[in-house]
Amino acid sequence: MRNWWKALAVILLLFTLIGGFLIEVPKQVILYESIRNLYFHVPMWFSMILLFFVSTIYSVKNLSSGKIVDDTKAVELVNTGIVFGILGTITGSIWAKFTWGAWWTNDVKLNGSAITMLIYLAYMVLRGSMDDEQKRARISAVYNIFAFVLLIVFIGILPRMTDSLHPGNGGNPGFNNYDLDNNMKLVFYPAVIGWVLLGFWIANIRIRLNKIKQQLIY
């Protein structure tokens, strides 16, 4: 059972879909049933950051070993992370339209997500501008590490210095305080694990696909 975690991902996500839409949730003003978006919006960001973090680890590995495999892993993890980032932005945007009244607001966390996207799209542009494989691996690894550390500082420190519309910031009560009751926790935690596993599964498939492509070329 080497692939037990893939089965776990499927089970958890099926549970998230069914339980997320059917299990009783607390009734909140403004939020109402849109509170169910918590199972989809928040795990996207967790998955994205984890994917980028693991990608950075592979970039470090690539710098120390010089193996192209590590570079392939790093770039495919970033690719998958970008997809999760886009999904997180879309789910957040829809949620914001229904609760805050606008598709996009000038909120620190929204800006943070936009900058994250910009950084990793720039990483892709950087990769596109080099032809030599070894050189591309090394130089993009340097940028990946540099950008990730600064990104963590940005999304870790700045939101705490300014107000945000998000729960738990700027005087807004956090979900944890009263409205994330046991029913919601029952779905939320499996959802997080499920989406993270799905993210790594997708990255895994892309990495293997890349390896096969490279074997076909040489």
């Binding site: 950087l126 130089i139 340097v142 540099f146 600064l150």
Partner: protein, 218 residues
């Protein structure tokens, strides 16, 4: 190592004084942009506009100044330097050179702003500290990024694309701190922002020191 740094710095400063290409370019750039801003705004009434404009012009001028910081070290010269001194002394000498260039730029921009659009800053001692730390952070980020970009085919565009998303945390913190200084707030209110800028400085310099040798080797 200190010896190597001073020698490299001397070489950079002498070539800069002989050619004056970068400095003159920056002077003209700053003068013309500030003049355009003056034509549009005349006297700026609002503090936030003044500060935002000041930092935006400064960031663009800085990017222009550091785009070519590794131009002289292209291809052949790289191998020569490589045989002479260690990577860390090269990055430190470039960092010091860029930082001093940008400090001159910042001083000039500030002078022009005060001359044309008045000086709204109440707490100028604290503002100069914020300016110093901000410029240092911008210089260290741009130095590493331009080293990365110099390894690729289209240097000038990439420096901007790669550095702007990473520079945003620095800029936002510096602008917030500058607004507080402008309003006349004291040390207690700005200490969070000043220490964040300090932390960003430490991080970028440490990362440059660790990562630059890998760029160098390729």
């Amino acid at each position: 190592m200190l010896n190597e740094i001073t020698t490299l710095l001397k070489k950079d400063f002498t070539s800069e004084f002989r050619q004056k290409a970068t400095l003159n370019g920056i002077l003209l750039y700053v003068a013309s942009t500030v003049f355009i801003a003056y034509q549009v705004f005349n006297a700026i009434e609002e503090l936030t506009t003044w500060i935002a404009l000041f930092w935006i012009i400064l960031v663009f001028a800085s990017t222009n100044a550091s785009i070519n910081s590794f131009k002289a070290e292209s291809s052949q010269a790289y191998y020569y330097y490589y045989s002479l001194c260690s990577a860390s002394s090269i990055i430190f000498s470039k960092l010091i050179f860029n930082a001093s260039l940008l400090l001159v730029t910042a001083g000039l921009t500030f002078g022009l702003f005060v001359l044309l659009m008045g000086n709204p800053i109440e707490n100028s001692i604290l503002f100069s500290l914020v300016l110093l730390l901000g410029i240092l952070a911008i210089a260290s980020t741009l130095t590493l990024v331009s080293a990365i970009a110099s390894k690729t085919n289209n240097n000038s565009t990439l420096t901007a694309i790669l550095s702007f998303p990473i520079l945003l945390p620095v800029l936002l913190t510096a602008i917030k701190a500058s607004v507080l200084c402008g309003l006349g707030f004291g040390w207690e209110d700005c200490v969070v922002y000043v220490s964040t800028l300090g932390l960003l400085n430490l991080l970028t310099i440490a990362l440059s020191y660790v990562l630059f040798p890998y760029l160098w080797r390729s």
